[in-house]
């Protein structure tokens, strides 16, 4: 019981290859059906029907779309920088599809030849790998925007570079809070730490989750932060000049980013593949054995991986990721687009200082708890939850009602008691 049989090199490589193919296929299928879900859900939100002609409920629509994009004509603007124009979509899609590799998607699977980790590559740098690669995505966008030799594409590329770099800062800082609590950068261990805490990190790190959600929306160029595309302003921004499969690759890249960001949110803040209120699925490699946790005296409690648990946890992970995918669509079809300066203002003047302050707060609280000798567990989590909850409410209070951020027409509004805009005068203060 609990003894671990390591995979031989042959099986490690074989299972690795199988996992690469399987994960890539699943991500691509999810991306394809995300495009359908986006169109269907947006249609429902707007009281329309959406694509429902190809197959039952339009389920074959992504195949029809793919086929259409492959056989369509590839246009090449005469004045484009040809090499970079072709390189752009490739650079955009590559980081999008490889980032999923370090996300654990289920509990380890037992096989006759050993236990297989349900993660493509359990690299020790985990989240750093994701941050490093996802920041490469901006190159594809900037390059294609520039190489198109089109002013709208160029503006889209410019906006993308500014926005994605700005929000990477907030994204990274919100992740630091998670790193503080997890004490490690591998995502496998983050899941384990959440199981040990008995609380998903969304509770003790609620504000970090809000920052991460906002930054992830901005990083994936989704509404309300789709500045690089901004249909009403820039046609479609950086991919204006692209057609057929090259356009499709940007599309796939965007949705692959969305899928990865959703999976990441589920992993970092919602326990990954952890099934709530059930310690039976907790599983971690500890000194050559599978353990479920530690008892009172600190001795490890052994556990055995099972196929059933793997399947259940895979379901839990899919459900959480699916929720965030739906949230992405839901937000997109609800909120209007921010103005560009508002995006920058929010990123640099609100999220960055707030995230820095929050890191200090979490680090301080953890230091105090450690000094008081509180062990890592439910009480530890609840104290952090209380501190974070108060901070979150305070943050939401201060950013609300024009206290920190406001619309353009508020810029010159005088303080109370001086003059107020009067209705019917077009917003101008009365002369009296």
């Amino acid at each position: 019981m609990g003894e671990m049989q390591e995979l031989s090199t042959f099986w490690f490589v074989t299972f690795g290859a199988v996992k690469v193919v399987a994960v890539f296929t699943v991500v691509m299928v999810v991306v394809a059906y995300m495009t359908l879900a986006e169109r269907r859900v947006s249609a429902f939100i707007q009281d329309r029907l959406g694509p429902n002609r190809v197959g039952p409920f339009g389920l074959l629509q992504p195949i029809a779309d793919g086929l259409k994009n492959i056989i369509k004509e590839e246009t090449m603007p005469g004045t484009a920088a040809k090499f970079y124009f072709v390189l752009g979509p490739a650079l955009a899609i590559m980081p999008a599809v490889v980032t999923f590799a370090v996300i654990p998607f289920a509990a380890p699977l037992p096989t006759p030849v050993g236990t297989v980790d349900m993660i493509v590559a359990d690299v020790p740098i985990g989240i750093l790998y994701i941050l490093a690669l996802s920041s490469l995505a901006v190159y594809g966008i900037v390059l294609s925007g520039w190489a198109s030799n089109n002013k709208y594409a160029f503006l889209g590329g410019l906006r993308a570079s500014a926005q994605m770099i700005s929000y990477e800062v907030a994204l990274g800082l919100s992740v630091i809070a998670v790193l503080l609590l997890a004490g490690n950068v591998t995502l496998t261990e983050m899941v384990w730490k959440q199981q040990q805490l008995g609380l998903w990190f969304v509770f003790p790190l609620s504000l970090a989750f809000i920052f991460f959600l906002i930054s992830a929306l901005a990083e994936t160029n989704r509404l309300p932060f789709d500045m690089p595309e901004a249909e009403s302003e820039l046609i479609t921004g950086y991919h204006t000049e692209y057609s057929a499969m090259k356009f499709s690759m940007f599309f796939i890249a965007e949705y692959a980013h969305v899928v990865t960001a959703s999976a990441l949110m589920a992993t970092l803040f919602f326990g990954g593949w952890d099934i709530p209120f059930w310690p039976g699925d907790d599983m971690f490699r500890h000194e050559g054995a599978w353990i479920r946790g530690f008892d009172e005296s600190g001795a490890p409690i052994p556990t055995t991986p099972s196929v059933l648990i793997t399947l259940l946890t895979l379901g839990a992970f899919s459900a959480k990721t699916g929720f965030f995918l739906l949230l992405y669509i839901w937000i997109r079809w609800t909120l209007p687009r921010f103005r560009y300066d508002q995006v920058m203002h929010l990123g640099w003047k609100v999220l960055l200082p707030a995230a820095l302050g929050y890191i200090m707060l979490i680090a301080g609280t953890m230091l105090v708890l450690d000094q008081l000798g509180v062990t890592y567990g439910m009480l530890y989590g609840l104290v952090l939850t209380a501190v974070s909850g108060v901070t979150t409410l305070a943050f939401l209070f201060f950013v609300d009602r024009d206290r920190v951020i406001s619309g353009a027409h508020r810029k010159r509004t005088p303080r109370a008691g001086v003059t107020r805009p009067v209705a019917g005068t077009g917003g101008r203060p009365t002369s009296s």
């Binding site: 329309r48 029907l49 609800t334 609300d400 206290r403």
Partner: protein, 166 residues
């Protein structure tokens, strides 16, 4: 009638809660997402309900023996504001006038229905029908045989004593 101007008052600074507005919007879209109001008519499967006064494709009424009811009086080409009716009248042995050529160009027609209103023998009608797509432009000039073949319901004329067709 007096012009009523609705002055939209912008809420004063600090009076609107963005958080509440956002959540309100999210809940509104969620309600529509889970229970969409059905407004789309899935056209080829579902047919629209046409008004009894819908003016569409023309048709020519025929006698029981298959002759057109038209007496080639020439009123419809005269009244037609789009000048889309071509009529060449003839006379048979008994002195009955009949149309030798009767053509309506459905492209020129503006479907005002005045030909139907002016017709003294209730021969030419506009109908409650709109599915008249064709593969070529030449197919849109309807000749007499084609007009007589149409079998869709004809349009109800506007009755001044019952202006809403109730």
């Amino acid at each position: 009638m007096a012009i009523s101007v609705k002055v939209m008052r912008r809420p004063e600074a600090g009076r609107t809660s963005y958080m509440r507005a956002t959540l309100k919007g999210m809940s509104l879209t969620f309600r529509h997402m889970v229970r969409p109001t059905k407004v789309t008519l899935e056209y080829p499967e579902e047919q629209p309900e046409l008004s009894p006064r819908w003016r569409g494709t023309h048709r020519m009424e025929v006698h029981a023996d298959g002759r057109p009811k038209c007496v080639a009086c020439g009123l419809c080409p005269t009244v037609c504001p789009a000048n889309c009716i071509r009529l060449v009248g003839g006379e048979d042995d008994q002195g009955n006038r009949y149309p030798i050529v009767y053509e309506i160009d459905e492209f020129r027609c503006i479907f005002c229905g005045m030909c139907q209103e002016v017709c003294p023998v209730e021969a030419i009608h506009v109908g409650q029908h709109f599915e008249n797509a064709e593969y070529g432009r030449d197919r849109f000039v309807y000749d007499l045989d084609r007009l007589m073949e149409q079998d869709h319901p004809t349009t109800l004329l506007w009755d001044p004593s019952d202006p809403r067709s109730e």
